[in-house]
Symmetry: C2
Subunit: 222 residues, 2 copies
Amino acid sequence: MNKIITKESQVIPQPFNNLEPSKQKRIIDAALKEFAENGYERASTNQIVKHAEIGKGMLFYYFENKQGLYHYLIDYAISTIEREYLKQIYMEERDFIERFSQITEVKMTYHYENPNVSNFISNMYLDDELDLPEHLEKRLGEMMEEGLSKLYEDIDYTLFREDIDVEKAFQLIRWSMEGYQNDLLNELKGQNIALLNLDPYWDEFYEYLAILKTTFYKTEEE
Amino acid sequence: MNKIITKESQVIPQPFNNLEPSKQKRIIDAALKEFAENGYERASTNQIVKHAEIGKGMLFYYFENKQGLYHYLIDYAISTIEREYLKQIYMEERDFIERFSQITEVKMTYHYENPNVSNFISNMYLDDELDLPEHLEKRLGEMMEEGLSKLYEDIDYTLFREDIDVEKAFQLIRWSMEGYQNDLLNELKGQNIALLNLDPYWDEFYEYLAILKTTFYKTEEE
DNA sequence: ACCCCTCTTGACCACTCTGGTCTAAAGTGT
DNA sequence: ACACTTTAGACCAGAGTGGTCAAGAGGGGT
């Protein structure tokens, strides 16, 4: 017997956990990438073992089957996102634009340090017709909720000018920053980020933030 | 001989053009959808003939091969987009927010009346590793350029408040409206739009526009 | 020397699907 | 009756699928 069953009756692949971390990482990365690029159905276990540089048999020795691997990856992705992205957000900042700016920075950093996880999770949401076990659905829901609370909790409403609806202002600011982020990601796609100096983009980003503050916040004169 | 060669040495499928329009449409729609959902490589000609309700042989009687069909569809898509979307934009409106609002309306209408073309073209841009013949690349470029000029040409800069960079304001407004549009499309995805009353969403959209005007345009007091 | 257990490989399986061909027939016009 | 166009789908060779399994490698205990 080389699998143990936890209280949640979730199968933990023991031999896999005992692997040298570098090999573990190779497999996880290869799998995340394959699923991210192709979705669950079309992802090929043959491609995964090829890129992970392991024999075909090993994948099914470590994991029960393709679906088991996929569920493991979702679990893995949620854990790193919570640990390395959500937990990094500094909640003492009560200025909405500053808070969101910080979230954008953390998110971009995370995206470039874990591109496979990042792509895997966003494409997983697009994959229809896959039903996940309850405990994963639950964890995804919790992650979602935690993300939302990081965005909106404890925000100082009094900074906003009074002639506009604050909730709508939130959305407009969110769309603006996400739009900048998307355009940027698109522009830099395919380039090796390690060789790239992102500072000019951050400067540009801060200029946009300044405009958002000018337009959506109260003017400071008495 | 049932193909004719034009001056641009582009193959026009003559028997296909002589088809009853309803059958033509069935084939085009089935193909657009299959390519949109799967990308060029993974789109299946078997699925196309099945959904178009024609025999397998017919597809290769009408078109030289899979690639010929794909190129025909790109050409077709560009034509309808130019005719039914770009040409509908009213250029006399010099207020940027109003202009963009109008573009959003036309685009949404087009999207719901031609969802297959719309999805086909946007997913085509995501498809790497396909190189198109020069005349198609050229037409795509022209379409792009026409779209951009519809957005920015002849805009009245004097409406904007003077303490912000107008170019950056353009982007912020663009991201805001595109963000609203994306969120909405996402929310309504899968629902039958014919049965849906979109008016409340338009009302909400106009409220956002009002805020954008309040924040980015000059106040009218003397 | 031997056993036992874990770890590893890749050939192999039965199956599905691929783009494309081709034969044979049905329709159409004269 | 004949020529021509249009139609359907069985068929092809090849590639790829998730998953299995027999065979062996490595290492610790005796």
